[in-house]
């Protein structure tokens, strides 16, 4: 069988023709040209991707960065005892029921004594956010002794004044085409000349919930909602999918049933997320009656989405562990479980963590699935537990993008920036974890 002799192909006349490689210059030139073209395509592709990414990032940053600064008006507010303390007993209940908006409004009117008409006075009042009195109330609650005195406060400006201060309202268009009137612009210029227009870092943007008023709307609620949702999703999907992957890869017999399961898991990864949302709506809300719009339900739906991703990544990571390590462990008498837990799993860990983080990052940017289970509502309160109604970052961005007020444009972009920062942090964590584990092993 092994004695077959290779004789080579015989030509017609019985003499084998000697063939040599074609080393002609034209052929070699064409080969190099093809190689250069091939590289050029790659560079073009990368250049295009970088350009698009840069364009997106620059647009978002240009539009959104101003949202991290909030315009305030510095006013000398006379804290009138009768207005802020209607009961007159300095109790907290009484102080909380005071009309702080009125004292702030009076302070602003005091700067413009010549404004008398009802319409004009209202136009002037439009400079103030309807939450402008909050800062005064907080200070009075902390220290009731300032009642009756005049204090300087930096009160929250309305979105119109905010936009004007940030130069987002063009002054050269006809008066009817812009939200602020000529007279308001004149007042604004006077306030600015007096140095009463200040700009402070917008910490409220990260701590407060949504609002109808752009200057009061914050991402805090959505960030907390996203956090609770993602934590639920990780806690559910990571153990389940790692256990499923280990069983399928290491223990399950290779037969029709496991083949079918494998095909279905791969299909599951490609199912549109809105289908998972519908499933959550029908089963979790409809059948089990779980609370609508709660991070718990959102986390369950998103864990369904991340399950196949993590299972596939884990199986790939397990498969990539060299068989020599398994053999070595079997060779010293380790049982199957010991081989998997002591040797294969630790070596597969970086791959598993990378898959889990990337799957989770994808889930974090997911909106369609959570829309279906009611996480799209207008929610002012920051959620405190996984059963409170809540929304998530991508849905909040979607809601703001839909809002007509001009002030929401910059908030939308700022929201996108916050979410991108989260995604970059998570992906960086994936890289760091992978490096750290790889170095150890």
């Amino acid at each position: 069988m092994t004695d077959a002799v290779f004789t080579g192909p015989a030509t017609a006349n019985g003499v084998a023709k000697l063939r040599r490689p074609d080393l002609s210059e034209g052929r070699i030139r064409r080969r190099y040209a093809a190689e250069r073209r091939f590289r050029l395509y790659g560079i073009l592709a990368i250049g295009f991707a970088v350009f698009m990414l840069g364009f997106l990032a620059i647009t978002v940053i240009l539009q959104g960065s101003s949202a991290f600064w909030q315009t305030r008006i510095a006013l000398d507010v006379a804290i009138d005892a009768a207005t802020v303390d209607p009961a007159g007993d300095r109790s907290e209940d009484s102080l909380r029921s005071g009309d702080y908006q009125a004292v702030v409004r009076d302070a602003l009117r005091g700067l413009f004594p010549e404004v008398t008409g009802r319409a004009d006075r209202r136009a002037l009042g439009d400079f103030l956010s309807n939450a402008a009195g909050m800062v005064v109330m907080e200070r009075v609650l902390a220290d009731p002794s300032i009642i009756g005195t005049t204090q300087r406060f930096e009160v929250l400006a309305s979105t119109d004044l905010d936009m004007l201060a940030k130069g987002k309202i063009r002054r050269d268009v006809p008066e009817a085409d812009r939200p602020v009137k000529d007279q308001q612009i004149a007042w604004f210029d006077r306030l600015e000349a007096e140095g009463r227009i200040t700009s402070t870092f917008n910490t409220a943007f990260f701590t407060t919930g949504d609002s109808r008023e752009p200057e009061q709307a914050g991402l805090g609620g959505a960030m907390m909602g996203t956090f609770l949702t993602i934590v639920t999703a990780i806690l559910l999907s990571l153990p389940i999918s790692v256990a499923a992957a280990i069983y399928l890869e290491e223990f399950a017999p290779k037969n029709k049933i496991t083949d079918i399961i494998e095909v279905n898991i791969n299909n599951l990864a490609a199912v549109p997320s809105i289908v998972f949302g519908l499933l959550g709506l029908a089963v979790l809300l409809g059948f089990f009656g779980l609370p609508r719009g709660a991070p718990m339900v959102g986390g369950m739906v998103l864990s369904l989405m991340t399950l196949p991703t993590i299972i596939i990544a884990t199986r790939a990571a397990l498969k990539a562990v060299p068989p020599s390590i398994r053999e070595a462990a079997y060779g010293v008498g380790a049982s199957k479980q010991q081989v998997v837990l002591h040797h294969v799993l630790p070596l597969a860990m970086p791959g598993i963590m990378t898959g889990a983080i990337i799957g989770t990052a994808r889930a974090m940017g997911e909106s369609a699935a959570v829309l279906m289970i009611g996480m799209v509502a207008f929610i002012v309160d920051v959620p405190g537990s996984i059963t409170d109604s809540s929304t998530v970052l991508p849905v909040q961005i979607y809601l703001w993008a839909d809002a007509p007020e001009r002030g929401f444009v910059e908030r939308t972009s700022a929201g996108i920036m916050v979410m991108l920062v989260f995604l970059v942090l998570m992906n960086a964590a994936a890289v760091i974890i992978r490096r750290r584990f790889e170095r150890r092993w």
């Binding site: 092994t2 060299p322 020599s324 053999e327 070595a328 010293v332 008498g333 380790a334 010991q338």
Partner: protein, 273 residues
Amino acid sequence: MDMGTLPAGAAMSPAVASRAIEGAKMTSRKVCVHYGQKQALFDVDLDIPSRQVTALIGPSGCGKSTYLRCLNRMNDVIDGCRVTGDIRLDGENIYDPKLDVVMLRARIGMVFQKPNPFPKSIYDNIAYGPRIHGMAAGKTEMDEIVQLSLERAGLWNEVKDRLAQPGTGLSGGQQQRLCIARAIAVSPEVILMDEPCSALDPIATAKIEELMDELRENYTIIIVTHSMQQAARVSQKTAFFHLGYLVEWGDTEQIFTSPRDERTQGYITGRFG
């Protein structure tokens, strides 16, 4: 490949069986291995004498590694691999369903072709086996086992100052001796070596061969090798495999000086293989 059409291999078997060794450490009778539909080993009858080195030689794909992996049931972990026949260790059938394969592998250690230390410290590489088998009661006992195993593998002096460093940082020859030490650590009775020197340079090879000679006092060693010189140097018994058949086996000296079968003659003189 059909069994009926095959020549002399099957006819050799009775002759082989007639020279069976009394009190052999391991015996195999009519061992056949199939990978799926393909038969890789045909009716192998072979006795392994205790405390000697038995070399398995033959051209690539002849089934010698497959046979070796039958002896500690390493073929169990390969999908579609089927072993029939009778293999006994001290008279006990190792394919008995009641036998615990994990305990079997603790009795029959294995060293692989490519050095495959665990990606752990040198110490943990050795200590892993004793630990999972509960062989040491405490840290001092474990230290003893580790030191003894490394000493027997001739590696102690080279690594005693860096036991905490990863085993993968050693040279190829050191890694292979580490793997031998790891196998010794669980006190096996038999050590299987699957071409242990094929990835090593001549100096490292010489060290391993020297080591085998020392280990043979306490262990039964079976080595698969492609190098006939190595087989001649280290082994007392040699078995020649060809195309899945055990063609001939006997004392190493006899095999290399006066082989009975012309295929053996052809292989050891380098005419084929």
